[in-house]
């Protein structure tokens, strides 16, 4: 089996899994308990917090552990709005993950002035439109770092500077689920990430909240995470995340290079097939680990199932949107429509993928297309 759907989730690394097991079966204590083994465990969690924070050039006190990307994205918005009472303007992009897009949409009916900014044909934010939308009463901004469907990379630090000039009171959040550690750290007020995109288990992630940002936090209870996110600390998850992240930090350059090589090789192979189009940024401009291509004349879903049967797992878009009907919101915003949208497939890689897999995958795709395109509407 060739797994090219690493943006949906990744295989948990052996080291991360063994770490989790150890903290489930041996060091299983509640780190908030009073006895010494628990106190030691709390220290380990905080050491992990410090290491993860360092990877984002942040202070450990600025990192809140959560259940993952969706919770982080939701609470970034709700916790910021709860800390300021006015019905301010809130700004996001048209191509965000549903865990940002849906909460923003819901805020419309709460009376907030919600603005969705369009994107360029390659999937990056339209900066002019963004700049024009910024106002003094803008309270919250959320712009994704790396787009999960096409791999477009936004220059978050630069957008942050623009935002601070024109909307100094706004809190600037970025969804970094597809970028954390894989991309160089950026400057912003809040940043979400998730463990399972980095070979850690599902159910653990985090939210960076820059010191001084007014943030009311999320769920109430025992006051864990500095009172901003109550709930018993997910020690096995956090420690496994720590292990997986440490490996990624250490090898980032090599991993990026390897994934870029796979991406380029697959792209070159596929470019030889007729009627294939690249969606999103040019291959070297996008993330090393996401490639989105359209195969004209076939439906993405049909091609996906055909490839699955041959042992290649890919996706037609975000797994979080696969159960939703209708057109692809992200490709629509990029102006990728019609036959090209119908035939879009996302390939996403991890450092374990190889060039040989890229060759085999391209061959399988060509075989499938040869069958499916026989039935093309003549």
């Amino acid at each position: 089996m060739i797994y090219f759907d690493n943006s949906a989730t990744t295989r948990v690394s052996t080291e991360a899994a063994e770490t989790a097991l150890r903290y489930m079966t041996e060091q299983f204590f509640n780190p908030a308990a009073a006895y010494t083994p628990a106190v030691r465990l709390e220290k380990e969690v905080n050491a992990a917090r410090a290491r993860l924070a360092a990877a984002f050039r942040a202070d450990p006190s600025e990192l809140i552990f959560t259940s993952g990307g969706t919770e982080s994205n939701n609470v970034a918005l709700s916790g910021t709005l709860a800390a300021r009472r006015d019905k301010c303007r809130i700004i996001t992009s048209a191509v965000e993950h549903p865990s940002v897009y849906e909460p923003f949409t819901a805020m419309k009916s709460e009376g907030y002035d919600v603005v969705f900014i369009g994107v360029q044909p390659d999937g990056r934010l339209n900066e002019k439109e963004f700049s024009e939308a910024l106002t003094a009463n803008t309270g919250f901004i959320s712009i994704m770092h790396v787009n999960n469907e096409v791999g477009a990379i936004n220059d978050i630090s630069s957008l942050y500077r623009i935002a601070k000039e024109k909307a100094p009171n706004a809190v600037f959040h970025s969804d970094g689920v597809q970028a954390f550690i894989k991309q160089p750290a950026v400057n912003c007020d809040m940043y979400s990430f998730s463990g399972h995109k980095l070979h850690a288990p599902k159910g653990v992630g985090g939210l960076f909240v820059k010191r001084g940002v007014r943030f009311a936090g999320g769920q109430l209870g025992g006051g864990q995470e500095s009172g901003l996110r109550s709930g018993t600390t997910n020690v096995p998850g956090v420690m496994a995340l720590n292990a997986a992240a440490a490996d990624y930090v250490k090898n980032r350059e090599e991993y990026t290079e390897r994934m870029f090589a796979v991406k380029k090789r697959l792209f070159e192979n596929l470019s030889r097939i007729r009627d294939v189009r690249l969606n999103g940024p040019a291959v070297e401009d996008g993330a090393a680990y996401i490639l989105n291509m359209s195969f004209l004349g076939v439906r993405g879903e049909v091609l996906l199932h055909s490839l699955m049967d041959k042992g290649l797992l890919v996706s037609t878009g975000s797994a979080c949107a696969a159960r939703h009907r209708g057109k692809n919101r992200i490709l629509n915003a990029m102006g990728v429509t019609g036959e090209r949208q119908d035939g879009a497939i996302r390939f996403s890689f991890c450092p374990d993928n190889t060039g040989e897999e890229a060759d085999t995958a391209a061959q399988l795709i060509e075989d499938s297309l040869n069958i499916l395109r026989r039935f093309r509407r003549r």
Partner: protein, 395 residues
Amino acid sequence: MERVILVRYTEIHLKGLNRPFFEAKLIENIKGALRGIHCKVHREQGRIYVTEISEDRFDEAMERLKKVFGIHSISPALGVDKDWNCVVETAFSLMEKQVAAKPDLSFKVFARRSDKNYFMNSDEINRELGHLVLEKFPTVHVDIHKPEVALSVEIREKAYIYAEEIPCANGMPVGSAGRAMLLVSGGIDSPVAGYMMAKRGLNLSAVHFYSYPYTSERARDKVVELTRLLSAYAGPIRLHLVPFTDIQMTIYDNCPDKETTVIMRRLMMEIAEKIAVNDGARALITGEALGQVASQTLESLCVTDDAVSMPVFRPLIGFDKDEIMDYSRRIGTYDTSILPYEDCCTVFVPKHPVTRPEVADIRASEEAVDFTELVEKAMEETETLIVKASDPKLI
């Protein structure tokens, strides 16, 4: 005090000598629908009574009965001692709820007495209880022609008192009319078509064609789930899942492009008919509506009918899409029907299907290819499931 459910049926009353057969079938179906809930079901004087219902599942029993075809309406009733004071108190308690909802309601007392030894006759009960209710609730008034609330009292071995009549699914008891084979695609129409024919008393078998690997496992689960939702009305359904990819490939390789859809439908009908015979079904049911798409023009329907000798029931033939969607929402299949998975009919679609096919042309195109072995193979590889309402929800 005991809570019981009184079940009324209507159309069955029109039956003559066959009436006991229909009544027995209805009771059997009611027992089937209430399986797993402790209760007793018996018939008495043109009514069916469900008694000794486990108290914590009373509402569930009511919900399940609403989906049993052949039932006109049900009433949740209170069974109490025949002592007059007890009857009056119970009637008051029922009226209290109704008056709280609408203080100036109109009502009438409707008494029936099968215990002829009771100390009052029906008319006396009507007058006396009506009088007491008017005294107790001064805001209400009597309307004996069109009352908003019919406060009913039945004096039998116990007194049964009720004030509500809940309309149900009507129709004929499932199984009283034989068996037919429903072609299910996974869309909005076919479950509604199945519902309508089950409502006329048919037992259902169902057949679905899928194009593995080009259609998803979820598309298959969706069809199983739609069948499960339908079985809440129709009782257990035998669902046949037929692998159809090879046949589709062969059609598309060998037949004129614009005829592929109609030939595909003919082969589906042919296979459905063969399975129907094995299942003891005597007709086919489809969700087609005249003119909805190219394959549902009059000419196309004639060509599809030509592939089989069984009657083909199309209960939605005169319905608009909007009407079918309304029905689908009402019976609870809509939300599942619109889940967005490709099905075997959308995987390979010609851009310009023929809208006015001629039987002779289509037969000629079809005869150019030998489908016999492929059809046999598809039937051999068909998977059959018995789908019941009590199965776990799949998607």
